[in-house]
């Protein structure tokens, strides 16, 4: 009986917590170009090698703030030309523009550079 009650309690808390996560307002990226860019990011499976906020594959660098760090032309040349490791991707001008818009949008949501965080005494971190 107690076991079932604990289980029900946990499931209820999980439901409330999930609702909280779903409803918390965040930066809106409903611009069609951003959305199209996100789809290209996914269709080309960029996450296999690159990370956003440190999440993804580790063969390539984190691209969260690549837009502000290197600019659109740098991104364009890497996507079109590839590198020793990365294949060149054949994208139309519109697709390339959308992908850059997506990376610009991601860049505006925050900073992933770990050097920008302050470590508190209780082990938590805060963005500087």
């Amino acid at each position: 009986m107690i076991r079932r009650a604990v289980l029900v309690l946990l499931v209820c808390l999980f439901g409330v917590y999930s609702g909280h996560i779903y409803l918390t307002p965040t930066t809106d990226g409903s611009d069609p170009a951003v959305q199209a860019g996100k789809m290209i990011w996914q269709k080309k499976n960029c996450t296999a090698c690159h990370q956003l906020y440190g999440l993804g594959g580790f063969l390539g660098p984190d691209l969260t703030n690549i837009y502000s760090a290197k600019g659109p032309d740098y991104i364009k040349s890497f996507v079109q030309g590839g590198t020793a490791t990365m294949p060149a991707f054949i994208l139309s001008d519109n697709e390339l523009k959308s992908l850059i818009e997506f990376l610009k949008h991601v860049d505006e949501t925050g900073r992933s550079d770990p050097r920008r965080f302050k470590i508190n005494l209780n082990g938590t971190i805060a963005s500087n």
Binding site: H20, N45, T47, A48, G54, F58, I119, T124
Partner: protein, 459 residues
């Protein structure tokens, strides 16, 4: 008429045999991928990393899913009598096989859904979901008959139902409300993934508790307060600790602090492992002659190493240094290979022991593979950790050298990582080959018996 030993391979065993094939495929793709770290551009034109990584990850996930469900269903068969849902299992097996073949082919021709872990097109999630629904119905129906349910039954039900919820949740990104908010999307994605891993762990750990009970004959632990306390701690972590994946994401602080706090409850589990160390070793030594027990002993060691590392990197201030580096990969590999695969192989060597003949004649060979696999894994994880430390140093420094130069400087670690991966693969072949040979011998016997009209024994 002459009678032969067991003949037909039951549906749960078909799942297990397919899982072993997936394990070998995962290792093959993993080895190719690891050499792409050593030789940049290797197979870039036809099998570049954005293809090889999902091929590896999906094969590994299906190894776990098929083996975990096959093991659970085999034990339910033992517990609840001859389960009358073999048709459901057969259906699940066929659906999973069709799904995984379609997924691997789609990757090969460059069709992706582009989400980490589930990198296949979302349409292919439908058969995966359908297969899991069959499994869940099977588990729920079979356990209905059981009275005074021990903890492993709770774990199997929670794992089966929980996976359905979290797998569905991982596809919320298809709705524009989630899709258009990158922070919300990533939060929900990692919320679902964290819980999903917890769900298949429930199946695996549940089976390991059942197996330990079977080996020792002691039925008290699985009904004890301590076992249920540990189950609820595990469940709480499954539901709420996932945010240690997203400490640097600009999500609400409350969510991250809760993840940190809940993750620290695992200290209780770690403390218990240390406290019970002597008893665990004594018990393991008593049953060390049994093949499944040898795999469980290896898993115990990896649980200690990985749990310590998991708690360590769940502290946000430490996670800041390890996040986005190969230290995370080392942790994942330690958990997936060292814990999950060792437990699953323990379950498989138990379930498949009498699939046809006994595995006893292969005991030395399998044990040699087990020892070699664990040594290789230790080297593999250490090399990844070293590469991770190198990357951490680069990330936290003023980055005077470009990313590519840092990766070049990490080549010695990647070389050790790739070579130990080859050794790990070879070790798994040594383990898996006799298990498959032993089981498939029955199919050959069955086939011949039909041809020669010899009466086979019913399994």
């Amino acid at each position: 008429m002459e009678r032969l030993p067991q003949t037909n391979i039951s549906p749960p065993k078909k799942l297990i045999l397919s899982a072993l094939v997936m394990l070998l495929l995962a290792m093959t793709f993993g080895v190719i991928g690891s050499f792409q770290y050593v030789v940049p551009g290797l197979y870039k034109t036809f099998l570049s990393f954005e293809k090889i990584r999902p091929l590896h990850v999906t094969s590994a996930i299906f190894w776990i899913l098929m083996a975990a469900t096959g093991g659970t269903l085999s034990y339910l068969d033992e517990l609840a009598g001859k389960i009358d849902q073999n048709r459901l299992t057969q259906g699940q097996w066929i659906v999973f096989l069709v799904s995984v073949v379609a997924i691997l082919v789609s990757y090969s021709i460059g069709i992706f859904g582009g989400r980490e872990y589930w990198e296949f097109h979302p349409v292919l999630a439908i058969p995966v979901m359908a297969g899991w629904i069959l499994f869940t119905i099977n588990v729920v129906r079979s356990t209905k008959k059981l009275k005074d349910r021990p903890v492993y039954v709770w774990m199997w039900i929670t794992g089966a139902v929980g996976f359905l919820i979290t797998f569905s949740e991982s596809y919320l990104w298809l709705f524009p409300y989630f899709q258009r908010n990158i922070v919300r999307d990533m939060s929900v994605q990692w919320k679902s993934y964290g819980a999903m891993v917890g769900c298949w762990n429930m199946l695996i750990y549940g089976s390991s508790i059942y197996l330990m009970q079977k080996i020792s004959g002691d039925k008290t632990y699985a009904r004890s307060r301590v076992s249920f306390l540990l189950f609820f701690i595990g469940l709480t972590n499954l539901m709420f600790n996932w945010s240690h994946h997203i400490y640097t994401l600009p999500a609400a602080s409350f969510v991250k602090h809760l993840g940190y706090l809940i993750s620290m409850t695992e200290l209780f589990i770690l403390g218990r492992i240390i406290y019970k160390w002597k008893a665990t070793v004594t018990s393991a030594l008593r049953y060390r002659h049994l093949l499944p027990c040898r795999f469980l002993m290896a898993a115990d060691l990896w649980i200690f190493i990985n749990l310590s590392l998991a708690i360590f990197i769940s502290v946000p201030g430490i996670n800041l240094y390890t996040h986005g580096t190969h230290i995370t990969v080392a942790h994942v590999m330690g958990a997936t290979i060292g814990i999950n695969s060792m437990i699953l192989l323990a379950v498989i060597t138990d379930v498949m022991n009498k699939a046809c003949g006994s595995l006893l004649s292969y005991q030395r060979q399998i044990t040699a593979g087990l020892i070699s696999a664990n040594i290789s894994l230790l080297v593999f994880v250490t090399a990844l950790t070293m590469a991770g430390i190198k990357r951490t140093h680069w990330q936290m420094s003023d980055r005077t050298i470009p990313f590519s130069v840092m990766m070049n400087e990490s080549l010695p670690y990647f070389l050790v990582f790739a070579l130990s991966g080859v050794a790990l693969f070879a070790s798994f072949i040594v383990i898996v080959y006799p298990i498959m040979k032993n089981a498939l011998a029955c199919s050959a016997v069955n086939f011949l018996s039909l041809k020669l009209k010899i009466q086979p024994a019913v399994e």
